[in-house]
Amino acid sequence: MNTATPAGNSGPGRWFRFNLWLHRWTSLIATIPFLVLCLTGTVLIFHEEIDEALGTVPVSQHAAGTPQRPASESIANVLAAYPGERVLSTGVDPEHHPGVMLVVTGPRDAESFEDAKVRFTDLVTAQPVGDPDPGMTFTGLLLELHAEWFLGPAGELVGALIALLVFLSLLSGIVVYAPYVRRIAFGVLRRGRGARLLQLDLHNFIGAMVLGWALVVTVTGFLLGFNSVAIGIWQMTELGPLRAEARRLEPVDARHPPVDVDRAYAIAQAAAPQGWTVSTMIYPLTEFSTPRHYTALLVGSEGVDERLFRVVIVDAKTGEVPIVPRVPGYIKLISLSQPLHFGDYGGLALKLLWTACTWLTLFITANGAWLWWDRRRKRQPLPDGVPA
């Protein structure tokens, strides 16, 4: 929000001037990256529809309810098709990818998911389906730009910094807006009195309309910027002791663990709380498991549980469940931040609301920068001989 002439008989106070300065500079520094975030964010709101239209994720041709082959058969077929690779994790997502299994593979000696590729198999035939050499998808590329600025985990912190700048801009904008509404009622646009006043009114009017949405998106964007940091802390604090314990045990062959993936699914499901289903099974010897254990990720079936996850550890040699690690509050908070940031949890209506708010925010970001540039231009002395 912006104002040209702060109210008050004795001129602007220090608190007002500080907030005006803060609003101006936090907004200006964040302008270009924020414009990129708004543009990529608009596309990412519809990532499910775009992926479907582009055929990024293959769809099963079999009717729901057709008997399915064991998951281990899918894994064997994937390893036969890609002999130089290992499986890092497998997963099912009946809501978004019905009838197919997602098999994440990496180079034979990989422990990290950094160079991972997602393969798909048909759950009915256990045969690989879809593009045999999937590259970066369009939405995947945009997500990498939006979330990481193509800088990897360090880029997430850049995103958090931009979110912090925008958050400060919003809060200081409220302070700057307060004296403005003493003179200009909400919704009033001063037409016919110059471009500057009209743009100023539009900036304040639209800023007031999108304030709540923008606060949610910036706070969640800030939290998401610490995603990798939070997972790293979780790996050290929750998974660390188990890894230390696993080092004393005999490791398993991570390509062919003695307890196969179907049994691991069944064991994890038996240990799961009611209403929670195994969605992902991370193989032994990865950054999210130990050389001896599978890590099963569970999702809830309804309400907010659908957005959270729980973890069950399965011994890949004995089939025992040595521990059900707790998921700390900060991981839950970050998990909930994702839908709140992308607005993909309330159907098309919410996506359209998100798009409208994003575009309105895009407009006031650009017109705020124009207001600053216009004021600066008018303050500069004209060269000699040029009529004012």
């Binding site: 409220i174 807006y177 307060a178 004296p179 509404v181 003493r182 009622a185 909400f186 919704g187 009033v188 646009l189 009017f205 639209i206 007031a208 309309m209 999108v210 304030l211 709540g212 949405w213 606060l215 949610v216 309804e302 309400g303 907010v304 957005r307 909930l336 839908p339 709140l340 607005g343 949890y345 309330g346 209506a349 919410l350 609301l353 409208a356 708010c357």
Partner: protein, 55 residues
């Protein structure tokens, strides 16, 4: 309308919008439309004010 009242209303609208956005995620589907209405309330009020001002 007095300025502090307008500011309070703008802030109340923003808070209601935040409540709607979060409520829609946390509460099960029966209340979805009520929460969506709250989330979209600032845009609806803004659109209405803009319409009144135009006429």
């Amino acid at each position: 309308m007095r300025a502090p009242k307008i500011l309070r209303r703008v802030l109340a609208l923003a808070l209601l919008s935040v409540a709607g956005i979060i409520g829609m995620l946390l509460v099960d589907s029966g209340w979805d439309w009520a929460f969506f209405a709250l989330a979209a309330l600032p845009l609806a009020v803004g659109g209405w004010c803009y319409g009144v001002e135009r006429h």
